[in-house]
Symmetry: C2
Subunit: 409 residues, 2 copies
Amino acid sequence: MGATPPRSPLAPDGFPDLPVIGGVRFASVAAGVKYKGRPDVMLAVMDAGCAVAGTFTRSATRSAPVLDCQAKLGGDTGGPAAFVVNSGNSNAFTGRNGVEAVAAVTAAVASATGVPERRVFMASTGVIGEPLPHARITAKLAELNAGLDAGGIAGAADAILTTDTYPKGAGRVVSVAGGGTVSIAGIAKGSGMIAPDMATMLVYIFTDAAIGQGDLQALVSGACERTFNAITVDSDTSTSDSLLVAATGASGVDVTGDAAFAAALEEVMLDLAHQVVRDGEGATKFVEITVGGAADDAAARAIGLAIANSPLVKTAIAGEDPNWGRVVMAVGKSGQAADRDKLSIRFGDILVAENGWVSPDYREADGAAYMQQQNLVIGVDVGVGSGTATVWTCDLTHGYITINADYRS
Amino acid sequence: MGATPPRSPLAPDGFPDLPVIGGVRFASVAAGVKYKGRPDVMLAVMDAGCAVAGTFTRSATRSAPVLDCQAKLGGDTGGPAAFVVNSGNSNAFTGRNGVEAVAAVTAAVASATGVPERRVFMASTGVIGEPLPHARITAKLAELNAGLDAGGIAGAADAILTTDTYPKGAGRVVSVAGGGTVSIAGIAKGSGMIAPDMATMLVYIFTDAAIGQGDLQALVSGACERTFNAITVDSDTSTSDSLLVAATGASGVDVTGDAAFAAALEEVMLDLAHQVVRDGEGATKFVEITVGGAADDAAARAIGLAIANSPLVKTAIAGEDPNWGRVVMAVGKSGQAADRDKLSIRFGDILVAENGWVSPDYREADGAAYMQQQNLVIGVDVGVGSGTATVWTCDLTHGYITINADYRS
């Protein structure tokens, strides 16, 4: 967290133009929680009639704000709601002080905005184990409330960043089968301590669609498995990661059971998930790993993640080395069934290995040329069943070491 | 595998003086399997009356030599035996050619030495997926057989190295409760692709003790869990790793059920396991992680390995950063039960965190000073039960990236 690192070479060209979502307003401010001279707190306030769904880290040491959100989620639906997020301090492993900090901030948000405290969802991201200076946040709530603006989402995306090198946003406008259109806009942060088995980072998605809380939660939980829980930067799982989706209903268009809405929501989630990988600490390559022929989909996913998390595979990719032997190794260590003598491996469209050995037509020069691309696809078929999965990761470079071995200060 | 890297800063002062083991002779030779101008094949021949035990990688894609050893082990006991090992090529994922290569070499060893082929155990270590040029090995067998020497163990230790920066040896002389002494001498190789769930690397241990194959196997399997299966460099699991222990009985001293022998054998295994960690690719710190208060010993071990394999913990150690928040994170992601509010963390004797927060007496300067040491102990108590485990690892540095992101050539 020293000097700002350069923008990831895998970053998109810029922050997208996101649709304005009826029923939501945003504000952000520089509260000096830890960082100086940059916005570090964002507030989003949703009008009455809003459904909120979410998923959270499964860490056994999850933070006080995560526990508070989990207790609140689904317990009360349909009123106004608020999200308040600070960067710079995760308020994780802060004991009783952590619980008090969450209560102080959510009470202050309720007081400033009129949203019931049981509908105020907090998240914090940054260093673990230091007390959150919550008075710096509560001191800014009047200013935040006064600044709420339907067009403020880009500022909110900036305020939640930590080691990210760019803000992340994605949106869609969807025509619903029953008539009418709805809009979706989401923001995310995250670039390290990213691995599945959790919501993986901070993500906030807003839509003006009308949908009940239970239906929204089912959509979000299902799509999370194929998006945020299918990415990994470094196999490490944060204590704080949270995904919240707010559906305001302001469009008046009911999307219950609508396939186009479900698909668009998952597209936004996948877009944001990919942007997190593309901002992986030190990343220079974006890697899609597709696994087929596994015992079932869960086995395929475990094999994909074994490949995606292997330091030897990730360093080979960094070195543009078509070292398919390391892919074989990672399949072998996954703990899942694989038939060594039916295993096949592809780099993009290049058949590298098949039937338990290098393909007779494979030429190392072809593999080496392929590995020089910035976006790579590694395809594996393990030859035992019909389970499939796709996961995404990045390479492991000197940049990751430099970012994470710098003394915390 | 380019220029020889400098000797690890964690290396011992030199190769130890190992006891000569009656009933075993060693030879090594430069066969040019891959490397030029250095010994790359070793042969060990044990006289009749030898018991052989072993453990192997559990990889689903394990190599032809591993499968051949597993098929032979325990099936025939008491005769002479031989170990033949080449470096430079792992003969893994080489299809039918791999099986033929093993058969060719083990038949040639049998022919040259008079050891029955069913008692010839082969191992290969090096690049995956390239055909083993086995004729280069068989061409040297007459020379190897002629060079067999009871004092040749140091040369054998050199011949099995790949990316290692030093040869690894350990020995003990043990007084047995029933009278008499026996000797143990072992060698190992390994510095990357090291993780548990396997025998972890190539290890050969020899003793002149008299013990039955079944008893020896039980001792080896038990001790392996607390030694080679309790270390990790990078979480990656090789397709080739093998541990073989030969007990020649030449001392005439029966060690069946002898506690001193069992302890000494485990000491040799632990010594070699630690030497492998100390030669971890790019390692600058040797780290012991002790876990207590877990649901059971297996849970403690899983928590220890989650810490030991966390890139964020390992880079913090590389940066001499007492970043105990990352230890909390790793405990949380382990998937094992932990009481966040009873969790305690120690760096050496320094109590860093307790009762779910930083210890009131902890000073960051103390933690920072401690982290500058070369040998570190991280102690964690997760506050839910009485399970304990100790695992060992090293840090994750630029050196690891440099070694593994170099294009394979």
